[in-house]
């Protein structure tokens, strides 16, 4: 079970502690080369395929810890690429994977974009073969519109669109879990230090209840993400549905945790200077990336209605 206190999370937190989430505009965050050097994007890919070993759980924890720190880096996107490509293009500076061309993460900084569309075959494009129109998400992260203008390389052995989407969505759920943990930590610290009415805010019952509610969402999301990660490793047939459940849970958590965190921070939390927005803007942005919350819910709903109760129960208890 992935928890906040696992060894890997503590190691990751050490690497990231003291790192200022604020990054220079139009450049990758300065901590990114360190994460690459430590091999984080290759974690969860077997060594015989050119990966760094470690389990998918380990990768989940690294993605979560990175998100919790508030920094924006293309860890998730590169990790999916490494999973697809193994040792291929190991020396390329930045290979990101996308399932569509409308809002490609980090495209402007990429050396290569790996595209796994829904209907067409997968391909790889060098940056020079792409026209990139800059866009961003609510967290200010690059989400660029991309048009292929040059030659591309076909990737006949790439996993299916659904498999790539499921891997990305699992890691996005992990990132949401991390950002929610970050928001919870900031809030806890704030309400124990800030005094109003002659005592720390946390001494007010509604404040303590809200904090407890945030915690409840974290615990549930940890369980959902761990269940989905297990699905990916042990039973690919179950991976998609368990990922859908994790992504929906994480998205719901994102909404309520961001809301409670800001509510308890008062005006202080809406300022640029306070670090809270580095995690809450990510919660708002990511809850609908790698498949919207609504589309994942609809997928589960459709499966349940089509398969019926017996199939639903088998799926839950598998």
């Amino acid at each position: 079970m992935s928890t906040e206190n696992s060894l890997i999370t503590r190691v990751a937190a050490d690497v990231l502690s003291g790192v200022d989430p604020e990054a220079p505009a139009d450049a990758l965050h300065p901590v990114w080369p360190t994460l690459v050097e430590l091999g984080w994007p290759q974690v969860g890919v077997p060594e015989e395929r050119g990966g760094a070993g470690g389990s998918l759980h380990d990768l989940v924890e690294l993605v979560a810890a990175t998100a919790a720190s508030g920094v924006s880096v293309p860890l998730l996107e590169v990790a999916v690429s490494r999973w697809v490509l193994g040792a291929e293009l190991a020396d390329a500076p930045l290979v990101v994977t996308t399932t569509g061309l409308e809002a490609v993460p980090w495209a402007r900084h990429a050396s290569h974009v790996l595209v796994r569309p829904e209907r067409e075959p997968a391909f790889l494009a060098e940056r020079g073969a792409l026209e990139v129109v800059p866009g961003e998400n609510l967290a200010g992260e690059p989400r660029d519109a991309v048009r292929v203008t040059g030659a591309t390389t076909a990737l006949p052995d790439a996993p299916s669109h659904e498999e790539v989407l499921a891997r990305a969505a699992l890691l996005k759920a992990a990132a949401l879990l991390g950002a929610a943990r970050g928001a919870y930590r900031h809030t806890r610290e704030h309400v124990t230090q800030r005094e109003q009415f002659g005592r720390p805010l946390v001494a007010l019952k509604p404040v303590a209840s809200s904090l407890a509610e945030m915690r409840v969402h974290l615990v549930a999301t940890e369980a959902a993400v761990a269940r989905a990660a297990r699905g990916h490793e042990e039973d690919p047939d179950r991976a998609l549905a368990a990922t859908a459940a994790a992504k929906v849970t994480a998205a719901r958590t994102a909404t309520s945790v961001a809301r409670a965190a800001h509510q308890l921070h008062g005006a202080m939390g809406v300022t640029r200077e306070h670090p809270l927005h580095h995690v809450t803007r990510k919660l708002w942005a990511w809850r609908d990336e790698s498949g919207t919350e609504r589309s994942w819910s609809a997928r589960l709903g459709r499966a349940a209605l089509t398969g019926g109760e017996a199939a639903l129960w088998d799926h839950l208890t598998a």
């Binding site: 809002a103 866009g135 109003q196 800001h262 509510q263 300022t271 708002w284 919207t292």
Partner: protein
């Protein structure tokens, strides 16, 4: 609605349309806090639409609060740039009218009604947010008036204001609700300094304001020295009871109607139902004001429910976006980044609920 109000409604729509079509403003969510345009406020002033409920003797139009509701809701619907006059017209004017001396009224009100005076609101302090009665800014008696020392925070548009409303401690007292006094002061008085606070979207609307040995003449006291707490709680009902507590995200709702699919029918329907009810509450508050009351409880109710509605509009709108990526510069993006403030400014939702809870316990 009676026909004179219908006429007003049409005129407001026409004005907003003309300005929009001439490219003079871009409709935005949360415009009453974020879109500051003195020229637009002056245009409203020329039409007699600022201070429109006040007596003619102080530059007002002697219209009803229902008429003012028609005006304000049409402006909010249009996402018009109304921030320059909002605070003065909504609450400082009415507060001065209720408690201010004849002289103070003559000094302050015609200027607000003409959009010449721009007011900011000096209530909150670093250590006095929800616990407003804990203000530490001091007012000390000096010959001819008062000396102000202290620090206010989150003061919206202090960097553009000509005047400030200020709540200060004029007397040390055992009970923190006693010994508070309200003032009007000039922002260009020596000893006032303003520094910006940038919000998470990168915009600058609020500030920190420091007062060092600032002189305020005696006649700039609002009402009674030491009665500030009672007066300010009444003022808060003007602050909380208007349609801006419901309509900050209306431009997003308007866009949503263009893009929502059938899968969102029930959700949109529920929003419409809530909006209808909230509008009815706005009318009640306006009628209570027309009856000369300061409807503290109804206003707190309106704000509590209204800000939850504003937020839920964004949740529904977000579900209507197919791609899942929201551009921070779009109406929805701007509104989401502004939304954490909705349930905090003007009194946190939890604090409003505790005010209402105290009333219940007293029954």
């Amino acid at each position: 609605m009676n026909s004179s109000l219908d006429g007003l409604r049409r005129e407001v729509r026409e004005l907003c349309r003309a300005w929009r079509e001439a490219g003079r403003y871009r409709p935005r969510p949360d415009a009453w806090l974020r879109s500051f345009d003195l020229a637009f406020s002056k245009e409203l002033a020329e039409r007699g639409w600022l201070g429109m409920t006040w007596p003619r003797s102080v530059g007002g139009g002697e219209r009803s609060n229902l008429a003012r509701l028609v005006l304000t809701e049409e402006l909010l619907r249009a996402g018009a740039p109304v921030a320059a006059h909002w605070i003065g017209d909504r609450q400082i004017g009415p507060a001065v009218l209720r408690y201010g001396s004849e002289r103070l009224q003559q000094e302050v009100l015609p200027g607000i009604a003409a959009a010449e005076h721009v007011f900011c609101l000096g209530m909150s302090e670093p250590d006095a947010g929800s616990d407003l009665a804990a203000v530490r800014t001091t007012a000390t008696r000096v010959p001819g008036g008062w000396r102000i020392d202290g620090r206010k925070i989150w003061t919206s548009h202090a960097h553009r204001a000509t005047h400030a409303y200020l709540l200060a401690r004029s007397e040390k007292s055992e009970v923190k609700h006693a010994g508070l006094t309200e003032f009007v002061l000039d922002m260009d008085s020596p000893g006032v300094s303003v520094s910006p606070i940038v919000d998470m979207a990168g915009s600058h609307h609020f500030n920190e304001v420091v007062f060092e040995n600032v002189f305020v003449p005696e006649h700039r006291v609002i009402g009674t020295v030491g009665d500030g707490w009672k007066q300010v709680t009444e003022q808060l009902s003007y602050e909380r009871g208007g349609p801006e507590r419901v309509l900050s995200t209306y431009p997003v709702l308007a866009e949503l109607l263009e893009v929502a699919d059938d899968g969102l029918l029930e959700e949109v329907g529920e929003l419409v139902a809530r909006l209808g009810t909230l509008r009815a509450l706005c009318v009640r508050v306006a009628e209570a004001m027309d009856a000369g009351e300061a409807p503290v409880q109804a206003a707190a109710t309106l704000k509590y429910l209204g800000t939850a509605f504003e937020r839920d509009v964004l949740e529904c709108a977000r579900r209507a976006t197919g791609s899942g990526v929201v551009d921070p510069g779009s109406a929805l993006g701007e509104a989401i980044l502004a939304s954490p403030g909705f349930g905090i400014r003007g009194g946190s939702s939890e604090v409003l609920l505790s005010i209402l809870a105290k009333q219940e316990a007293r029954r």
